[in-house]
Every structure is written in C-alpha cells, then in structure tokens.
C-alpha cells in the first residue's frame, strides 16, 4: 500500500521506564474509520500519542501519510487530535480556544474567524462560543475539543474517547460526523469504550490487549479468523425445524437452536462458507421460505469478548 495514503507502525514499542506501553506493533491503517478497541491500559492512547508525536517510540518507525511524527510543522497541517485530556488554557472562551490555535497555524484573522465559526457550527457549539470553557458541561468541553481538532480540515483525525460525556443526541451527531469524514477519504482513528456505537461506523478495527495488537482488519475478517468460537448465524424462515434437522447432519454445524418465536434457527458453524452453500442447497431442495440470513456475532463486541473477554453489555 502507498505510504502516502496510510498510517504505518513498523515494529513500534514504547516503554515507560519498565512499564510496557505498546510492544512490537505492526499496523498499516488505510483511510476510513478505524476503531482502536481494548480495555483500559491496553495501549490505545499510547498508540495515538505515538502517531501524533506527543511521545516518542522506544523503538520502531511510524509514518502518518508519509510524514514522521517528529516533524510537527508538517504533521499537524494534516492531523487533528482530540485527546482525552479534559483541560484547557486558563480563562479561554470556546471561540478564543479554537481561534488562537488556528492563528498559530499562520492563518490570517479573517480566515481563522471563518474556520472557527464553521467548526463551532459543525459541533453545535455556536451558541456557547463566547462563554468561558471553564463554565461548560463535560459534553460541551468534549465538543469544543472536537471542534478544535477538526477546525483546520485535517486529513487525519485522531479521536481518543470522543463520545465520553456526550448526551445521546450529541453522540448520534458525532458518530454521523465521523462516518461522513471517513467516507470523504479521511483517516479517522477512534478509540472508544462504547463498542456497539463504533461498530456501526468502523471500516476496520484494531483490537488491543496489554500493549499488544491481537487482531486488526475488517471486523468480519477478524471474526472469521477466530476459529475456536464457531460463527453464529441467524436464519429466519417458515420451517425452522426442518432446516435444523437437515443442518445437523453436517460436521461443521455444531449447534442449531430453534428461536423461541418458532420463526428461525440460530446456527453455530465452524465453516461459514460451507454453511452458506449448504443453506442454499437445502432451501432449494426443501422449498423453504427463507426470510433473512444474518451473522449474529461478527460485531466488534462479540469479537472483543472472544479475543479479550470482558463483561459485555456493549461497553468495555
């Protein structure tokens, strides 16, 4: 893949003294929305801080669209980073906060003003722009940091827990914004604990645990690699008992469970491809009225639980 269009980590390790941050990370992230998923302390923030040069790798090489993170002058023309630090310069207003860092980019007064207004509008903060940030709610502080990160139209947007503190409406708006930016060809790197929300918009995921990348890629691809947990596929049809009996005769089908409403079967199989071929054959042979077929556990939450474990419930 072209280095100018990817974020590359080559054998990157970071140690804080004797404490491991991340170890031997090799990643190649294409444009689109990438979710970093893992429990606290798994190395998500370390990875983000490394790619933005806030910390230096102990070893290895990082390249963000062909730019080294130790060249801030070049890097941050392309990169916006909304960190997890909930802190601001003293006494600053929302407008002043965004505007002063746009001026720092060498932008003129008028242009910085226009971009500030645009960023405030995109994040729904126009009304509170001239109030001091110290008086903002947590959700507003989160949004104003997001506005600051996107104000200069970055091509790489790094977001560390961007949904924290947001109310449901603001969450939905933020997710829609990230999705739209991803579709425009930007690199949008998101770490989040709210798995079911990032799952909807992620083009690829990076699963992390204890400083190691344990899986990466498109979520369906990652799921299919988890061989020790058979795939779950829900089949909605008119004659689930018949279908279940036919499926059971196959080696790769380890379980077929009838739905309580009597309108479907939940199948667990070791070989999804074989299963789909078999299903086609059975449906044709038995003339079964098939209504829907959908994987039931190829989302981030399931993959996370299979690979890392955890309490589930959609959040980590």
């Amino acid at each position: 893949m072209n280095e100018q269009n990817t974020i590359l980590f080559e054998d990157v390790s970071k140690f804080y003294g004797e404490v491991l941050g991340v170890n031997r990370v090799n990643l190649s992230l294409p444009p689109g929305v990438t979710s970093l998923v893992g429990p606290n302390g798994s190395g998500k923030t370390t990875l983000m801080n490394l790619m933005t040069g806030l910390i230096k790798p102990t070893q290895g090489r990082i390249s963000v669209r062909g730019i080294a993170p130790d060249d801030p002058e070049e890097l941050f023309r392309h990169v916006g980073y909304c960190t997890q630090f909930d802190s601001f310069p003293k006494g600053v207003t929302g407008y002043g906060f965004i505007n002063q860092f746009l001026r720092l980019r060498g932008l003129g007064k008028t242009q910085a003003h226009q971009l500030t207004l645009e960023a405030l509008e995109r994040t729904g903060m126009t009304g509170a722009a001239h109030r001091r940030v110290a008086g903002y709610s947590k959700g507003m502080r989160q949004r104003i940091r997001l506005a600051q990160a996107i104000a200069h139209h970055p091509t790489v947007l790094v977001l560390d827990e961007p949904l924290n503190g947001l109310d449901p409406m603001a969450r939905a708006e933020s997710i829609a914004l990230f999705e739209a930016l991803g579709k425009q060809g930007l690199h949008v790197i998101i770490s989040s604990h709210v798995l079911h929300e990032v799952d909807k918009i992620s083009d690829q995921v990076v699963l992390m645990s204890y400083g190691y990348v344990i899986a990466e890629g498109q979520i369906q691809g990652v799921r299919s690699e988890v061989k020790e947990h058979p795939m779950q596929i829900l089949v909605r049809c008119a004659e689930p008992s018949l279908l279940a009996s036919r499926l059971f005769s196959q080696d790769h089908v380890v379980e077929a469970k009838l739905n309580l409403d009597g309108r479907g079967v939940l199948v667990r199989t070791r070989d999804a491809e074989q299963f789909y071929l078999l299903l086609n054959r059975i449906v044709v042979e038995e003339r079964i009225d098939l209504q829907a077929v959908a994987p039931a556990d190829d989302d981030v939450n399931s993959v996370y639980q299979y690979l890392i474990g955890g309490g589930g419930g959609g959040t980590v």
């Binding site: 806030l54 910390i55 002058e73 070049e74 023309r77 310069p89 003293k90 200069h152 091509t155």
Partner: protein, 287 residues
C-alpha cells in the same frame, strides 16, 4: 482556498514568514499570561517594593532636605546592584520563566501547542520572548519608578541632574542592564524548567554560583550572568566589607564585550533549551 492549502502555501512561501507569524501569536498568548496571571503578584511586589521605600524616603526628605544627590545616587546604585540584580530580577525571572512551560504542564494544556504545526524551537523562542518582554516591562517599570522618585524629590536640582547631567545616561544604563538581566536569567530558568520539574533546588545552585562567582577562576566567571551585568552598571558600589564580594570585578572587560558576552551566553543556553524541547514528551501523569 482551504485552511490546509493556505497553511501549505504559507509554509512554501518561506518558513520565516510563517515562523514570524507563529512567534507573534505565541507572544500575544504568553505575554498576557505572564503579565496578568494572579500568581505574578509577588513579582510585582518585588519589582515595585524598592520604589515604595524610595517613595517613603522622598516624603521624609522633601527637596533633598536630609540628603544629597550624590548620596542618593550611591543608594540607588546599591539598591539596583544588590536588590534588583541579585534578588528581585533573579527570583522574578525564576518565577516567571520556569512557569512558561511548567504552568502549561500543571494546567495540562501544553499538548495544544505540541499538536499545532509549530516547530518546538519556535514555541520555546516565542515563550522566551514573551517572558523576556514581560519581565523587562515589570522590572523596567520598577526601576524607572524608583529612579523617578529618587531624583524627583530634589526638585529643580534633581531635574537638572537628570536632564542636564549624567542622570539620563544612568537611567538608560539601568534600564539596559535590567533588560539584559531578564535576558540572561530568563534563558537560564527557561532551560532549567525543561530539565527539572522543581526549579527550587537548581535555582538555589544558580543563586550560589551567581553570588560567589567572584571567587571562581576568571574563565568560569564568564559563565555567570552577573559577571557581565555588574560591569555595565553606571555607578560603582564602594567595595567595602562583604559588599566587595558583590561589587568587585577582578578582570573587567569592555562594555561591548560584556553585552556581547551576555547575549552569547544567553543564546547558547536558549539553544540548549531548544534541543531539549525537541525531545520533550507529554506525560502529565508523571507531574
């Protein structure tokens, strides 16, 4: 033109233009913080404390009733050399310059600078210039007020001394030395703040070095800020008793050499600070 394209164009049209614009922005942000922050009150107190004392002296001796211009000129020289240079400006710069970066670290906002397309060296120089300008304004005002009060109470005689005698020359020299002192001590404390978290102990070491530099070999004396400053003072302090330690210059150099020497020393220290900040990482948890 999008912001991104604009920044690219600004960068390609010549980095100097961009760096100057960035320096100006940093200067505006930081100067406001340096001069108006609440924790700077004590710096104002030490900068204007001597003026209060001189003001009381002026009230006590209207029209120079109990003193002469010559006596007061010597008193002002002692106040400037022993208080301003060795205590006021030293500790004022220590408080102001160490807070330029430490303040941002303490309020966890330094990363906003680090996440901007600004060279770290430009950031360090911008912050330094803000500190230098701020401290020069504060201490320059204190010295100017002290000088005005010291000669103002002599009436026409004082006015004659200032405008038709050596007075204006003395004032220019005091202000010049004040600005140079802020430059020298500012660079030292800015560099220290990037190396150590708590500047108290290294500050004490610098204070000892500056105080007792006169007993060091001539070559080592040149690595002291006060070595250059005291040679530029317009009025010598009589080297009597312990004061000799603070006023005698064993191997004096020409004024231009002293100015150039101090600037070279400060630039060298600032260059070290720039090298240091390139390696600085954000780890607020450790602070």
């Amino acid at each position: 033109m999008s912001a991104l394209n604009y920044s690219r164009a600004a960068a390609s049209s010549g980095s100097w233009e961009l760096w100057l614009a960035q320096l100006w922005t940093i200067l505006r942000i930081e100067l406001k913080k340096a001069i108006w922050m609440r924790r700077s009150v004590w710096i104002y107190l030490i900068a204007f404390g001597p003026a209060v004392v001189i003001g009381l002296h002026a009230l006590n001796s209207p029209m120079g009733r109990y003193c002469t211009i010559s006596e007061d000129t010597n008193i002002l020289a002692v106040i400037f050399q022993l208080f301003y240079l060795r205590v006021g400006i030293f500790f004022g710069c220590m408080g102001l310059f160490t807070w330029l970066f430490r303040g941002d670290v303490m309020e966890k906002s330094l990363h906003y600078y680090f996440l901007s397309p600004v060279r770290r060296e430009v950031l360090a120089i911008g912050k330094f210039l803000a500190g230098w300008l701020g401290s020069s304004i504060i201490f320059g005002s204190g010295v100017l007020l002290s000088f005005t009060l010291m000669y103002g109470h002599f009436g026409p005689a004082g006015s004659n001394f200032v405008f038709h005698g050596p007075g204006l020359g003395h004032l220019a020299a005091y202000l010049g030395v004040t600005v140079l002192a802020c430059l020298g001590y500012g660079s030292v404390f800015l560099a220290l703040s990037l190396v150590v978290k708590n500047p108290i102990l290294p500050g004490a070491v610098v204070l000892l070095w500056e105080t007792f530099h006169a007993v060091l070999p001539p070559l080592l004396q040149r690595f002291s800020v006060i070595f250059y400053l005291k040679q530029l003072c317009p009025v010598s302090v009589a080297p009597t008793g312990v004061i000799a330690l603070f006023s005698v210059v064993a191997e004096p150099v020409a004024a231009w050499v002293a100015v150039a020497g101090l600037i070279v020393l400060s630039v060298a220290i600032l260059a070290c600070a720039c090298l240091r900040i390139r390696r600085t990482e954000i780890s607020y948890l450790a602070d």
